[in-house]
């Protein structure tokens, strides 16, 4: 029996290539589970996001890393934020997204796509470093 047979139809949709490295980096941490993601569709004005389950300390660490970049190296072109919502079972879930991308690109779609892909690549590094620092086995990890 194939691995995807027990999944709901929406769960069988493959992860979009632009966001897949970021999703992999997040799922590499045992306490993070990604639920949904999108690599952004500039032509429709739907921004990229990763919706995930994690302890608050981990989500806070990601937000801290994003904030540090915004006030320091500024490798990301646009502000990315971690926000929280309650899901259907009233469990707290987080969303990593960039609200500025939720508007259709006013000029070249190709150029905007390239910029967004570059942002996603930078984000993968930032989030990867942030979650690696929070590994349970490393000193100073969250309990």
């Amino acid at each position: 029996m194939s691995e995807t047979e027990n999944l709901e139809p929406w769960q069988r949709i493959p992860i979009e290539p632009g966001v897949a490295p970021l999703v992999d980096v997040m799922n590499a941490h045992p306490a993070i589970r990604t639920i949904a993601s999108c690599h952004g569709h500039i032509e429709r004005g739907t921004g990229p996001y990763v919706y995930f389950a994690a302890p608050i300390t981990l989500a806070s660490a990601i937000e801290r890393a994003l904030c540090a970049d915004a006030h320091g190296a500024r490798r990301l072109r646009t502000p990315w934020r971690v926000s929280a919502r309650f899901d259907g079972a009233f469990e707290l879930r987080f969303s990593l997204g960039a609200p500025r991308y939720d508007v259709a690109a006013p000029y070249s779609l190709v150029l905007s796509r390239r910029r967004l892909d570059r942002d996603l690549a930078v984000l993968t590094n930032i989030v990867g470093d942030a979650v690696r620092c929070q590994q349970p086995s490393t000193p100073g990890a969250t309990r």
Partner: protein, 150 residues
């Protein structure tokens, strides 16, 4: 070196709570685990919708979200629009919550007197929901305490 004098409040902290949202803010602060941080009663001129930002245990925010959804989906529909609890991180990277109605439209062609009355009853209904929640929260705390003692 400390002079022993209280630190003066910064400008935004000196502002009084707007009268339209004050009962809701009071109801939330009546729960010892909740502390409101900022609020707005809604402004028709600028189209700014009402909100209350607060810190609370995740369980409290979750219970509030459940009560808001229950009211909207299963009745008694005291709220004319869906109010939600969203979370975000503050400057110290602590999780805070925001009670607001993302679809609330204050600016528009409809009479602002009519809208103001509707908003007043909406905020009164929210206050009732929070008071009800405070009762449930106390009950839950007592139950947990009893389990802890057993």
């Amino acid at each position: 070196m400390s002079t022993g004098r209280p630190k003066p409040a910064i400008a935004w902290q000196r502002r009084t709570i707007e009268p339209g949202i004050a009962p809701l803010v009071d109801a939330m602060n009546a729960n010892p685990t909740v502390r409101t941080l900022a609020s707005c009663q809604g402004h028709f001129w600028t189209g700014r919708p009402p909100f209350v930002a607060f810190t609370a245990p995740v369980a409290f925010a979750s219970m509030l979200e459940r009560m808001l959804r229950d009211d909207n989906y299963f009745g008694p529909n005291r709220l004319s629009t869906l109010w939600v609890v969203y979370g975000g991180f503050d400057a110290a990277f602590n999780l805070n919550f925001r009670l607001h109605a993302p679809l609330h439209k204050l600016a528009g062609p409809c009479s602002s007197t009519f809208k103001r009355a509707a908003l007043r009853s909406e905020l009164a209904a929210l206050t009732e929901i929070v008071q009800l929640l405070n009762g449930l929260w106390d009950e839950r705390q007592r139950k947990e305490q009893r389990h802890g003692n057993d």
